[in-house]
Symmetry: C2
Subunit: 376 residues, 2 copies
């Protein structure tokens, strides 16, 4: 028993597995986390901070966990530069729960919210919001199969907020400049929060499921400007009311202890690496390398407008789809995992979140070059 986990650790720390190969994890989410975060998480499962108990069995009201919660919030505020005007919440239910919670909390039944549609996540947010008020889709990239980010649209001044999806993991598109508007922006930043600096003051609310750049699946981050709350004038179940969650510091009931703990460890890592400017620099390098590999390769193509390409998720296709199986085989042989595209669109996708090193992108780029030599 004892030796087994120690062998696992030895293999892992020498960047190998039982098959002696490093796995490069391009999964779109749940996604790669720093190796040291996973080791610290493992340690805490055995003994948390030397208290003789596992993180899995301690009370959410214990001083040990309250310190975790408080450090996690402080790290988020520090890294993103969030003022006291905003609440920072650790909820559950993922981004899909925020699709309705945002409207339920912010939108009166006679009020209007504006939406930009950049793919399935926006469409789902639009669908869920319709039950709570008027929804106006003011721009969409559906006409070109969601391969770009709409620009130059007018935001109606009577809308309560403008909802956008900051980065679309499936289509590989990303806002590199946010819409200019005086109304608060509500942003689903699930797949690009903490990947680059962000001017929080433009936003009324930002939500993000954790399982990309925040931590493991099971916790959802909500950052909300307090002055927007309490105006929708409808019954809201206690657990769904942002005001209650702010007042109770995310602990009206038992919060997801372990996912919050691992998120805190990961945020410590982000800070230690140099924060968002360091993340942005590294992410830009990886994306440049990846898109160069696609663009120079005659077998592959990326359908996204260049200026709207996502730094987090590069989608690409083989012009000849019959070559997909041999390409995936070559990826697997090189230890590149999670390269398959989303089941709704097919093709391939390389997700390159904060914890991914440049080396992993280099390995995938080499696989693509080698594939072109073999099949080109």
């Amino acid at each position: 028993m004892l030796s087994h986990i120690c062998i696992l650790l030895q293999l892992r720390e020498s960047n190998a597995t039982f098959t002696n190969m490093k796995i490069h994890n391009f999964s779109s989410g749940p996604a790669i986390l720093p190796a040291e975060v996973m080791r610290q998480a493992a340690e805490a499962c055995i003994d948390f901070n030397g208290i003789g108990l596992s993180i899995l069995e301690i009370s959410h009201r214990s001083k040990e966990f309250l310190a975790v919660l408080s450090e996690a919030e402080a790290l988020i505020r520090e890294i993103l530069g969030i003022s006291d005007e905003y609440g920072v919440l650790f909820l559950s239910g993922g981004g899909s729960s925020q699709f309705y919670m945002t409207a339920m909390n912010l939108l009166g039944s006679n009020e209007k919210a504006a939406f930009v549609d950049t793919g399935v996540w926006s469409s789902n947010a639009i669908k869920e919001a319709k039950a709570f008020g008027q929804v106006e889709v003011i721009a969409s990239s559906k006409d070109k199969n969601y391969t770009y980010i709409p620009k130059g649209f007018e935001v109606p001044k009577d809308a309560k907020y403008l909802h956008i999806t900051s980065n679309n993991t499936i289509r590989g598109t990303q806002y590199h400049r946010y819409p200019e508007t005086t109304i608060p922006i509500v942003s689903d930043a699930s797949s690009d929060i903490f990947s680059r600096p962000l001017d929080i003051s433009k936003f009324g609310l930002i939500y993000a499921s954790a399982q990309k750049n925040v931590g493991p699946a099971g916790v959802t981050l909500v950052i909300v400007k307090k002055e927007l709350l309490g105006k929708a004038n409808r019954h809201i179940p206690t657990m769904l009311d942002y005001r209650v969650q702010i007042e109770k510091e995310s602990s009206f009931n038992t919060p997801p202890v372990f996912p919050i703990y691992v998120s805190m460890l990961n945020l410590r890592w982000v800070k230690a690496q140099g924060g968002l400017s360091a993340m942005a620099k590294k992410n830009a390098q990886k994306a440049a390398l990846m898109y160069a590999a696609i663009d120079r390769n005659p077998l592959f193509m990326n359908p996204v407008e260049k200026e709207d390409r996502s730094i987090m998720n590069a989608v690409f296709r083989l012009k000849d789809e019959s070559l997909e199986a041999p390409f995936l085989k070559l990826c697997a042989q090189a230890g590149c995992s999670g390269v398959k595209g989303h089941r709704s669109v097919g093709g391939f996708r390389a997700s390159m979140y904060n914890a991914m090193d440049l080396e992993s992108v280099q390995v995938l780029a080499s696989v693509m070059d080698e594939f072109a030599q073999q099949y080109g």
Copy 2:
């Protein structure tokens, strides 16, 4: 780095900590889990099933996680004896989210639900349900400070369901016989599911936050009779609709991967130990030992009607409250942790969930005996 976790494991496996003392975890939840489950959880944080990736970074659509989800559901169905008439769901948000979700899904706005009030959890369920239909509190033990389970009440035949709290962690009360009724029972079994055999056919819906006998905090189990669904005739946000969650096998969006995995490990352990009859036998022994220690001790008292005492949570008080601090000090010296009562009622509480060994209860009983000798 490597040696640190190996030292932790060595200490833990020899039932010790850095301070060379075994901790007996009486926490009411999040609560004790089997040591082997915590070790397996730690291993999976480093390398899950030898695939070279951590459980924290794999896709919820990967075949590895789908196997976890499917085994977890199969174990629940097997251990509790659940037929295909019921859906088994892994949701999030805890029991407190089920307070409103049960009513939202099962109760039409002109329909009535009956409730038994046995303390704060029932009261919260009543409060949240009121927004969705008529609520009739048909029995309550509030008159005697929630120290008993009401019996002999009539359940109105026109109610859609009867809601009960199977075990009250704060008051230390538990149903040892469920109400006789022909209408479906909806039971909050957060703190006693998997502690004893259960006749599922009496129930329309059972919900349980994981962090007692199921697994770690961050996942909520819902077992629901499918024929009750789709009748409430109101808009339900997609994520809150049990029918959607059944259809999508708890994966409409990313479920809480790690909490589900650890729950699966724990359910494997429950099965390997002999299932619910073995759990019930062990739990009865622990409770008998604990209540005997309270009853024979002139310094302590338990306020609950004997026939309604909880097998999971024994609450007790010192008749002389000024002795609380020295008693807690003695508990700490013996490694007994989490013995403080809920902040709303004070006193003490020994939670003795499935994973707790008889030995730990013996240690606490000895501390109480020793305390009586010192202060009696």
